[in-house]
Amino acid sequence: MKFSGKTLAAVIAAAMIVSTFSACGSSGSGSSTTTTAAQAETTTTTAAAAESTEFVTTEGAETAAASDGDRIIAAAQAGKVGNWGLGNEYEILALLTKYGQENRFLSQAFDMDGFDDDSITLASAMTYNELGLVQNSYEGGYGYGDSVGIIDMNNEGVAMLEDNLFCTKAFAEANPNTVKAFISASMKGWKYACENPEEAAQIVFEAGSSVSSDHQAYMASEVKKLVETDTNGSTVTDYGKMDEAAMQQTLDLAKQYISLDDSTAAEKLQALTLDDIRSTAYWTDAIAGSFDAPEKTDVSIQLKWLPQAQFMGYFVAKAKGYYDEVGLNVTIVSGGGDIGETTAVNNGTVDFGVTWVSNLISANAGGMDLLEIAQVYQRSGLVLVYKK
């Protein structure tokens, strides 16, 4: 027991010194990791963005494009543009680049608290989800009403297509009739859901939804708009069709703004063509009704997010028995966790998935072999919301 308090004192003192030292370091090192390779292109406006002159009337039409630009620049300079990241950020990066801003954003939580307390002044929101929470005053809502304005990605010319339907190439080749039958019944579900959004909302709510019935109803009405309107504002009547131009714009933007650290994957990304990521053949046959009995009857689909009206078509198709009609027994698996829908489909734990086209592109660049078989959302549902 020769040990004296001195050694201990020395250890504690050393710890104190280290801690003060590191504290200085933490405020001093100011490098951002979200600044990506795309930063080099900051000044070049994208071709897609230059083309966009058309202005689709949406709510908040009085906000001229110029002042939207000012808003974006101001928020970007202050470092208060928010997005969730994790593969949802590419449209925002394209928008920031369009206005000559650095590709930097804050990680937004999956609620709108950051927008509410002004730590984020230009917050990402999906028209059918977060925007409704910001504006409406039902449960979970923030009740801002008309005192907030939005910047629409479709109007800004940086729209990328979102919710689609996909499976692996191998699965599609081995089970063509299952795929066609699934598309056929699902699109029938989407049609019914868009014609009867209130009923669809109720069906989702009863299927064990994660959100309140009021918000579910709001979501259904907004999702309907995304499914039935394309990026130019024209009406779409063929549910699930793949718009060539919009798909190409999505792929082009993806190549510019998805930055991959893995050089092999980055090279593969640049080499991707539309034929590598989608096939229209299954959808065409499915809509024409030309398919035989499914090869695999018990199938599952993983959603991109929590069970909510964003995916009402599938819930309706299940509830209304459309899947039974084509001889399929469908399990709906909700998403929203770290095992993404691309991973789950690729490793065969589920057969079908709903993802954003950009996520499918990066997955294929990373080495997966996924195939889009239908494009449910025809325009981007992402907006930036600000307080007027």
Binding site: A109, D116, S210, G337
Partner: protein, 273 residues
């Protein structure tokens, strides 16, 4: 007077005072938050609000109240936690036994046993999922991996703590290896084994909640991330926070209780006092 003093001096009273202090601090902060924030329940709700949300009979989703939802999801999570825990215990005990039987195995396994703790297991979840092919199985496996280290490490410490004299005594009786283990080693390591069990019981629960968030479905973690993401009332989130804390603490005491029930030495200790 004496009775009062006895109550005031009791351990339960002290704990109650602490809980009261925490509640008071919480409520003061909550009152302050309620003044300055637009959605105070997202930051720090009044405890009354949390209790209200548990007792209210309003339906949160199609069919369930907040309490019903929390309990149903807790059932799923706790049962997975229990299975993972049992597997983790078995694996930990067997590994500790093997390590104590063979020095070579100990030398090989011990650094890697430590390494397992250092791996961000959540990051590896998709890989485990790909191997098992089923999310429920992956959740159990991950919970088992996260809990087995304390059991293995403590049990091994128990084997090592067997007094040299006891060892030599058994040797002089010409006891074989089996006898050595069943008569001295295993009984001697049991207190250590239970220490491991007590440490890892709350870990099994928090680990299960953590792995729930990997994918949708039923489970406390799924519900937790849903209530953080969706338009569901935020009180569900707070319900889960409190619920998981209480369950975690209870699990520690339950293991203590089991130890007392199963092990004669614990009962003797109690009597001796």
């Amino acid at each position: 007077m004496k009775a009062i003093r006895k109550i005031v001096n009791s351990k339960a009273f002290v704990t109650l005072v602490w809980i009261a202090v925490i509640i008071i601090i919480w409520e003061i902060c909550a009152a302050r938050v309620a003044e300055v924030k637009r959605t105070p329940e997202n930051v720090l709700p009044h405890l009354s609000g949390v209790i209200d949300s548990l007792t209210s009979d309003r339906k949160i989703n199609g069919s369930q109240t907040a309490l019903g939802m929390v309990l149903e999801n807790a059932g799923a999570t706790l049962s997975r936690a229990a299975v993972g825990y049992v597997i983790g215990i078995a694996a930990g005990f067997i590994l500790a036994l093997l390590m104590s039987l063979s020095g070579i195995i100990e030398k090989i396994a011990f650094p890697y046993l430590m390494l397992i703790q250092l791996i961000p297991i959540l990051g590896m979840a998709p890989i485990i999922n790909a191997i098992t092919g089923d999310i429920a199985v992956s959740r159990i496996v991950i919970a088992a991996i996260l809990t087995f280290y304390p059991v293995a490490a403590n049990t091994l410490a128990g084997f090592k703590a067997v007094r040299r004299e006891a060892h030599e005594l058994m040797y002089s009786y010409a006891a074989n290896k089996l006898q050595l283990y069943t008569k001295t080693m295993i009984p001697a390591c049991i207190p250590y084994f239970f220490t491991g069990l007590k440490i890892s019981a709350p870990m099994a629960i928090t680990a299960s909640i953590l792995v729930d968030t990997l994918q949708g479905g039923i489970g406390l973690g799924c519900l937790l991330s849903q209530s953080l993401k969706g338009a569901m009332t935020r009180y569900v989130f707070w319900d889960i926070v409190f619920f998981s804390a209480v369950i975690g603490i209870l699990s520690f005491y339950i293991m203590g209780l089991i130890e007392t029930l199963l092990c004669p030495y614990k009962r003797l200790e109690k009597k001796g006092r």
